[in-house]
């Protein structure tokens, strides 16, 4: 999300703190009302490892101290979205999440959404000890609506609401399509999106500015394609369908954009050379 700051009554507010504050509010609200965290220790491990890894790698590889808002969000995402009675998976997932930004790069950009990569790696490689957050926070409608409305309002401020809206619309459309194949009720097919995992996935993961394409229309197309690929995974009865859909679609979309931009730049250069 774009970085900006505002000053009022002599206090400078860095807008990069908005997303961390929102996700912290969701975390605290969820835990204080329904005790969503198995332990504070697990979430602190996830956040701590995430921020320390970011500090260390940024210093070592980029030679600069990083802003930690992004690492903080990644740590909380990992801490909430994976479930395990053990502690080490939180540390490993957080490390993989941050490290992926420094290792999996193409033309100067990291191409996987970091927390999506870390979570998918754990779900695929360590399913015997890790599962995703898959249950409801109290199954109460009002907290869910508050989070969706509040989250949507903040995301709208960052001009990324269209991504969430497109994905949600796509999810509902493809849920309806799935009923033709599965024979299950529409309510059964939309049940997952009423859970907290999707709140985090839609509000924070697919909107990550560093791993989404740059044009508004492109972002909407990608969000729609994610929902479509998720449908394919769901028809194949893949439990982690949304994570895997983003894992597949996100990097491909970025690579396409990078290649297209490169070609455009090269073409411009050729035109300029010809003109010269």
């Amino acid at each position: 999300m774009s970085s900006s700051s505002s000053r009022s009554w002599g206090i400078r507010y860095d807008s990069r703190y908005t997303a961390p504050l929102l996700i912290t509010a969701i975390l605290l609200g969820g835990h204080l009302s329904f005790g969503i965290l198995e332990s504070y220790k697990a979430i602190l491990i996830a956040i701590g490892v995430s921020m320390i890894t970011e500090l260390a790698l940024s210093r070592l590889i980029r030679g600069q101290w990083p802003h930690l808002a992004s690492a903080y969000i990644s740590g909380i995402s990992v801490g909430i979205l994976i479930r395990t009675p053990l502690y080490w998976p939180f540390a490993v997932a957080s490390f993989l999440t941050i490290a992926s930004k420094y290792v999996l790069r193409y033309r100067g950009r990291h191409i996987w959404n970091p927390s999506n990569f870390g979570i998918c790696a754990m779900l695929f490689l360590a399913p015997h000890v890790v599962a995703p957050l898959s249950v409801q926070w109290g199954n109460n409608l009002w907290p869910m609506l508050v989070i969706w409305i509040l989250g949507a309002a903040i995301i709208a401020r960052f001009r990324r609401f269209h991504i969430c809206a497109t994905y949600v619309a796509g999810f509902f459309l493809f849920a309806f399509v799935r009923t033709w194949f599965t024979g299950d009720s529409f309510l059964a097919e939309i049940a997952p999106i009423t859970g907290p995992m999707y709140q985090l996935f839609v509000l924070f993961m697919i909107t990550d500015p560093k791993t989404t394409v740059s044009s508004k229309s492109g972002q909407m197309v990608v969000a729609f394609v994610i929902a479509f690929v998720e449908m394919l995974f769901r028809l194949g009865e893949v439990v982690h369908a949304p994570f895997y859909a983003l894992f597949v679609v996100g990097p491909i979309a970025l690579l396409i954009e990078i290649v297209r931009k490169d070609r455009a730049v090269r073409a411009e250069a050729v035109v300029a050379e010809s003109a010269a």
Partner: protein, 605 residues
């Protein structure tokens, strides 16, 4: 370090970590598959015991039948009708041989009471004694039975809990049973999945505690609607109520649930057991709830129960609790509590709970979940588990059974299950919204676990190595020395499956001692009595239970393994009446029949 070197090093670490996870996954899968059985002699030498499944050989041929509920639930019947296979041990005729009572859950099918003939074989005597035909149409079906001498006549009576009409049977001198439900004070109808005997107020008369899983007013055979499912997979409060019935010693009971403070929640209670957890002399309650947190209720002098779930640390992380078993796993004279949950790789990894009391925390009592530390965390879709010293080495071991619905081996219902389980209450609570199972399995064909206590703060899984290979959908487990040989044998009831009996053979150099207690001022079953055994620097605590595990009840006598030790320093018996009795240097290798002494004979407390 140059940036290039740093990036290269990071890449190597990154790839190595991913590779490590992959190798760990492979090894984990290989370990499960490679769990082969050892020859008997090798198992005896390595682990000190060996198990053989002998049910057919000893005359037991019992197959549980699942309930068939209202047709509105047909599409998910296997998961809704997933309970009812229970087993309890009793010496109903006081002949010194442990007998087996087992339930089935289909209308018209018969429960069985396997009388131990003493010659190695068993015979079903339930029809002639009046305990078979208890699943008649319109009366609901059996979920479990627990034994307690409610009239203190020396013979164990039966409380049969059901989804339907609950039943009380008086034991007539071991010669037959009389149904005494009418006028007893039991509720006319409830959907009970867990029940125990206890003497909560220590008045010498046994009381009953049980809980309705589904709401108690629901007739599962004649549903008016389909909104019967839990409203949440983790925070459901739309289950049934609890009941505490105070016994008067004459077969009548008074509902004291509300006045004791036990009527405040409607969690989906799956299992309960009682023990004096704080050394107050009064039995506390530990409850495992499906779709929610575990509960602890402290008994305040038999006058009320105080919700101590959060105060003890167990009331925070909601899981799918299915079992409550107490065991002194470290020989320090205190109980840890084992609660089973659900673990399905990659889908739902709750891990089981081993609640270990923090040192010095009694009587306030604080628990820490140390299942991972002790290596007893990962099961499957776990049901019953029991503690008992299976190899007589002086440390209690843990046997656990797994498996929910074993149907088509090639197709799983897990995707659809997880799809709906995370939904909003309006979706999840209505059975109509649940996709049809269509013959698919749900955590089916799962192996059992037998965790051997190494005595060094961890357990070792040896089930398959010592002869346990069956993968039916296990529900209840009971331990008993079925052939009076000084070893604990294992009886396992399976949903839609057979009753299995594992005959245990222990290494010859292992010694043991057992205590069969009979109350006089205390309830005659001695439920709630504790024995603390002191030998060779060990101090192990056990108690007589009115039901533990999941729909299970172990034998009444308390069995202690001693390892190679041949001398016991003393056994300290604390009777429910408050009396303390000390047995100095009791002989090993025998069952001591102990009658509660008079006040004059007992030691000062």
């Amino acid at each position: 370090m140059s940036k290039t070197v740093a990036r290269a090093s990071l890449s190597i670490v990154f790839v190595a970590l991913l590779a490590f996870l992959g190798v760990d996954r492979y090894l984990s899968a290989t370990e499960t598959k490679a769990a082969e059985g050892l020859p008997k002699e090798a198992a005896l030498e390595r682990y000190g015991f060996f198990l053989e499944e002998v049910s057919r050989e000893i005359g037991i041929d019992f197959h549980h039948q699942a309930p068939v509920l209202d047709s509105k639930l047909d599409h998910i019947m296997p998961q809704v009708a997933s309970m009812g296979a229970a087993v309890s041990i009793v010496d109903f005729d006081r002949d010194g041989w442990q007998d087996i009572y087992v339930t089935t859950s289909k209308t018209g099918e018969a429960n069985a009471l396997y009388r131990n003939l003493g010659d190695g074989r068993f015979e079903d005597v339930a029809p002639e004694l009046g305990l078979a035909d208890v699943n008649r149409s319109g009366t609901g079906v059996s979920m479990g039975g627990v034994w307690g001498d409610f009239n203190n006549d020396g013979y164990e009576d039966l409380f049969l809990y059901k989804w339907g009409s609950l039943e009380l049977f008086r034991n007539d001198g071991g010669k037959g049973f009389t149904r005494v439900t009418e006028g007893s004070g039991l509720p006319a109808w409830s959907n009970v999945t867990a029940g125990i005997w206890l003497d909560y107020d220590r008045d010498g008369n046994l009381d009953l505690f049980f809980g309705s899983y589904y709401p108690e007013d629901l007739d599962l055979w004649h549903l008016e609607h389909t909104r019967i499912m839990p409203e949440s997979f983790e925070y459901a409060r739309n289950g049934g109520r609890k009941y505490m019935l105070k016994g008067h010693g004459d077969g009548t009971f008074t509902d004291v649930t509300e006045e004791l403070g036990l009527l405040d929640q409607r969690k989906w209670m799956m299992a309960v057991s009682a023990a004096d957890l704080r050394g107050t002399g009064y039995p506390d309650l530990f409850i495992a709830n499906d779709y929610g947190t575990d509960d602890v209720y402290f008994n305040e002098n038999g006058e009320r129960f105080v919700d101590a779930g959060e105060a003890t640390g167990v009331g925070f992380a909601p899981k799918s609790g299915m079992n409550v078993a107490f065991g002194d796993i470290t020989n320090e004279g205190r109980y840890s509590v084992y609660v089973t949950n659900i673990s399905e790789p990659g889908v739902l990894v709750q891990g089981n709970n081993l609640w270990v009391p923090e040192p010095g925390s009694s009587p306030t009592l604080r628990y820490r979940n140390m299942a991972s530390t002790f290596k007893v965390d990962m099961g499957g879709w776990s049901y019953a588990a029991q503690f008992g010293d299976l190899n007589n080495d002086g440390f209690v071991d843990l046997f656990m059974t797994n498996g929910y619905v074993s149907a088509d081996r090639k197709s799983s219902y897990w995707y659809d299950f997880s799809k709906v389980a995370g939904g909003n209450r309006a979706i999840i609570s209505d059975a109509r919204n649940w996709p049809a199972m269509n013959g698919r399995s749900l955590s089916g064909y799962q192996a059992k676990r037998l965790w051997l206590n190494t005595g060094q703060y961890r357990f070792q899984q040896v089930a398959q190595a010592v002869g346990v290979h069956e993968t039916y959908d296990g529900r209840a487990i009971a331990f008993a020395d079925l052939w009076n040989r000084g070893t604990l044998d294992i009886v396992v009831a399976h949903q839609r499956g057979p009753l299995l009996v594992y005959r245990n053979t222990t290494a010859e150099d292992r010694n043991w001692i057992a205590f069969d207690l009979e109350g006089s001022e205390s309830n005659r079953s001695a439920i709630g009595a504790q024995v603390e055994l002191h030998w060779a620097g060990n101090r192990q605590l056990q108690h007589v239970s009115g039901g533990s595990g999941y729909c299970s009840q172990n034998q009444r006598p308390l069995h202690f393994g001693l390892g190679e030790h041949t001398h016991v320093e003393k056994a300290v018996i604390r009777w429910p009446s408050g009396r303390t009795q000390v047995l100095d240097s009791p002989a090993v290798g025998t069952v001591h029949h102990i009658l509660e002494p008079s006040e004059r004979e007992s030691e000062p407390v």
